[in-house]
């Protein structure tokens, strides 16, 4: 009973205490997002490829693979064309899917698909190219932005802008790779840009931000040198099993760039945490001894070390679950599979080593700058 009363009380207080300005801001954000999602749901005219909205689907069992017992189904699909010259006419399509759906998709009424059109006397038919996924992207993205604003108010705006700019810069920088510039050099420039931009955007133009930038770059540099030394003195990495490796011009450069960018976020996180902690300690007590600073700095480091390494582990492993399962189902030995996922394993290990190195490096950089060089700056 008391619990219920408390909960009601909290909600009432919450509503009272939040300033009107924020409620209005959040409402504006919500309305803009809803309008955006509605536009994306009806953006058929943006595409040159024909889009069909599926109305009716009939599925029938076509065959059962002998040996694997995998069931295959045929689908007779009819739907309405949503754009282009044949807008409003109905189209009939064919599809085949397996129950596992490793390479094929099962369609259902309500799905919207891109098709390659074949018009003849018997009506319009065509082959399915791809599902229209932009509307789901819009829903998830809108939910993300809305929650960001509701929970963090102004800060969320900066986080969102920094993510958005980073992804745009990456997309356009990769055009340079296509034009023949070395991917590793592009990535190093990207890393410099990302570090400066994200840290300044998230924690502002303060001294601690620059300390964090400096320690991030030093840690990244040392981590990459360690990795390079290992590459030289061991047999190196087998690039044949890298994903998306066809048609790339420099596999080793690409591999290094991936590992560099992958570890960067975690190292940045450690660096800014250490820099803020040391800054705070020095500000509170100007006479604090270096020994105490080192001790508290390590204490802060211990707290984030474990969770950072865990985040890296889960982010890298989640991407390869389907491939591992596919390979295990094909009776490939686990010991072989481990050697066939180089990117994820090296990414995780180098990232973790980077995090561990970043703790002492950023600690000492912060101490040197905040404590020793105080009078000079």
């Amino acid at each position: 009973m008391l619990a219920k009363f408390d909960a009601v009380n909290i909600i009432c207080n919450c509503i009272k205490k939040i300033e009107k300005k924020y409620i209005i801001l959040n409402l504006v954000v919500m309305i803009v997002l809803i309008i955006g999602v509605i536009i994306i749901f009806n953006n058929y005219e943006w595409y040159d490829t024909t889009i069909v909205k599926i109305k009716r689907v009939e599925s029938s069992l076509s065959n059962v693979q002998s040996g694997t017992e995998e069931k295959y189904y045929d689908q007779e699909i009819s739907g309405i064309i949503m754009n282009g010259d044949f807008k409003g006419q109905s189209a009939s399509l064919k599809n085949e899917y397996s129950l596992s759906g490793v390479l094929d998709d099962k369609y259902k009424p309500g799905d919207e698909v891109f098709i390659k059109i074949n018009a003849n006397d018997n009506g319009i038919s065509g082959s399915i190219l791809n599902l229209k996924r932009d509307k789901y992207m819009a829903i998830v993205l809108a939910l993300f932005i809305f929650l960001l604003f509701v929970v963090t108010n102004k800060k969320g705006f900066f986080i969102f802008i920094s993510l958005f700019v980073n992804i745009c810069v990456l997309w356009y920088a990769l055009a340079l790779n296509h034009k023949g510039y070395n991917i590793l050099i592009i990535s190093i420039c990207l890393v410099l840009f990302f570090t400066f931009f994200s840290l300044i955007f998230i924690s502002g133009l303060k001294k601690k931000t620059f300390v964090a930038i400096l320690s991030t770059l030093i840690s990244l540099f040392i981590t990459m040198i360690i990795f390079k030394i290992f590459m030289i003195y061991t047999q190196g990495v087998d690039y044949t099993y890298m994903e998306y490796n066809t048609g790339q011009n420099s596999l080793s450069g690409l591999f290094l760039s991936q590992i560099l960018i992958g570890g960067m976020g975690a190292i940045m996180d450690v660096a800014i945490t250490e820099a803020s902690a040391i800054n705070e300690l020095v500000n509170i007590n100007k006479e604090i001894s270096i020994k105490t600073l080192i001790k508290s700095g390590y204490e802060v480091g211990y707290d984030i070390m474990g969770t950072m390494i865990n985040i890296l582990l889960f982010t890298y492993i989640c991407g390869i679950i389907p491939l591992i399962i596919l390979k295990m189902k094909n009776n490939i030995k686990i010991s072989t599979i481990v050697t066939q996922i180089p990117m994820e394993i090296y990414g995780f290990m180098i990232g973790s080593i980077g995090v561990l190195l970043a703790i002492p490096i950023s600690l000492f950089t912060s101490i040197v700058i905040f404590k020793k060089l105080r009078r000079l700056i």
Partner: protein, 269 residues
């Protein structure tokens, strides 16, 4: 090469972390074991969604209660992470099925490595997609949650007369500070992993519209965004639960026996 790097990693864990490094190493080892076991069970035909749910609960339990001990902070984090997991299970189930995120995307399917394998595996790949999304977010959700719970706990320890609302507000404030860093870590790890995909899509001359409809990009992108949503959702939830536990310790008496903040309280009883 892998072995050499692993040795360096373990030595560094010991040098930098000392005793805490050993605990980190043990829980890391355990997490890898739970993940491998769950992947193994999925290949044996167990339902991927249920397996992931149970394994993520075990991972939560181990990371929180083994690494940090049983106290008001970890209890609050555990509850909030479980709630977030339940909410995001439904979200990723919806998106995973509707946007056909399962399966091998349209680019790597033509690589020799995949081409040679048999694709009749009798496992529903849409469910594997849900498992993927959830596995990606637990690390980040636990991280954000424990950070906020400890911060609110410290605030309360130094100022016992704060009321529930004030504790909640300070939790949200700290949360917004942490969020930027967590989102960055997730974002760059995913970006690094998918850099080669981006480079390849660029070579195939994908436009922005092609990009947002392609399976390869959607799988990666929806994965990051849902992980970020988990980080955001966990902030107010943890803040409210930990403030509630701290203000009403008598209701959680038997779970807080080892909590240093309530030792006096327990002695009085």
């Amino acid at each position: 090469m892998i072995k050499a790097l692993a040795v360096v990693l373990v030595i560094l864990l010991y040098i930098v972390g000392g005793n805490r490094g050993i605990i980190t190493f043990k829980s890391l080892f355990f997490n890898i074991a739970v993940l491998s076991l769950s992947i193994l069970l999925m290949t044996y035909g167990w339902d991927p969604v249920i397996v992931t749910f149970i394994s993520s609960l075990i991972i939560c339990y181990i990371t929180l209660f083994y690494q940090n001990g049983k106290n008001s902070k970890t209890i609050a984090s555990f509850f909030s992470v479980v709630v977030v997991l339940l909410v995001l299970f439904s979200l990723s189930y919806y998106v995973g099925y509707e946007a056909h995120l399962g399966g091998i995307d349209e680019i790597i399917r033509y690589e020799d490595e995949i081409d040679m394998l048999s694709h009749d595996i009798n496992i529903n790949m849409s469910k594997i997609a849900v498992a993927m999304i959830i596995t990606g977010l637990i690390g980040a959700a636990i991280d954000a949650s424990i950070a906020i719970a400890s911060a609110v706990y410290e605030v309360y320890k130094n100022n016992r007369c704060l009321n529930l609302m004030e504790l909640f507000k300070s939790g949200i404030n700290i949360g917004s500070d942490i969020l930027g860093a967590s989102v960055n870590t997730l974002f760059f790890a995913c970006l690094g992993e998918s850099l080669s995909m981006f480079a390849l899509l660029k070579i195939y001359k994908y436009s922005i519209l092609d990009l947002i409809n392609s399976k390869a990009f959607c799988q990666e992108f929806i994965n990051i965004i849902i992980s970020c949503i988990a980080c955001i959702l966990v902030i107010p939830l943890t803040a409210i639960i930990v403030s509630y536990i701290l203000k009403n310790p008598n209701k959680f008496e038997k779970h807080l026996l080892k909590d240093e903040l309530f030792l006096d309280f327990n002695k009085e009883k």
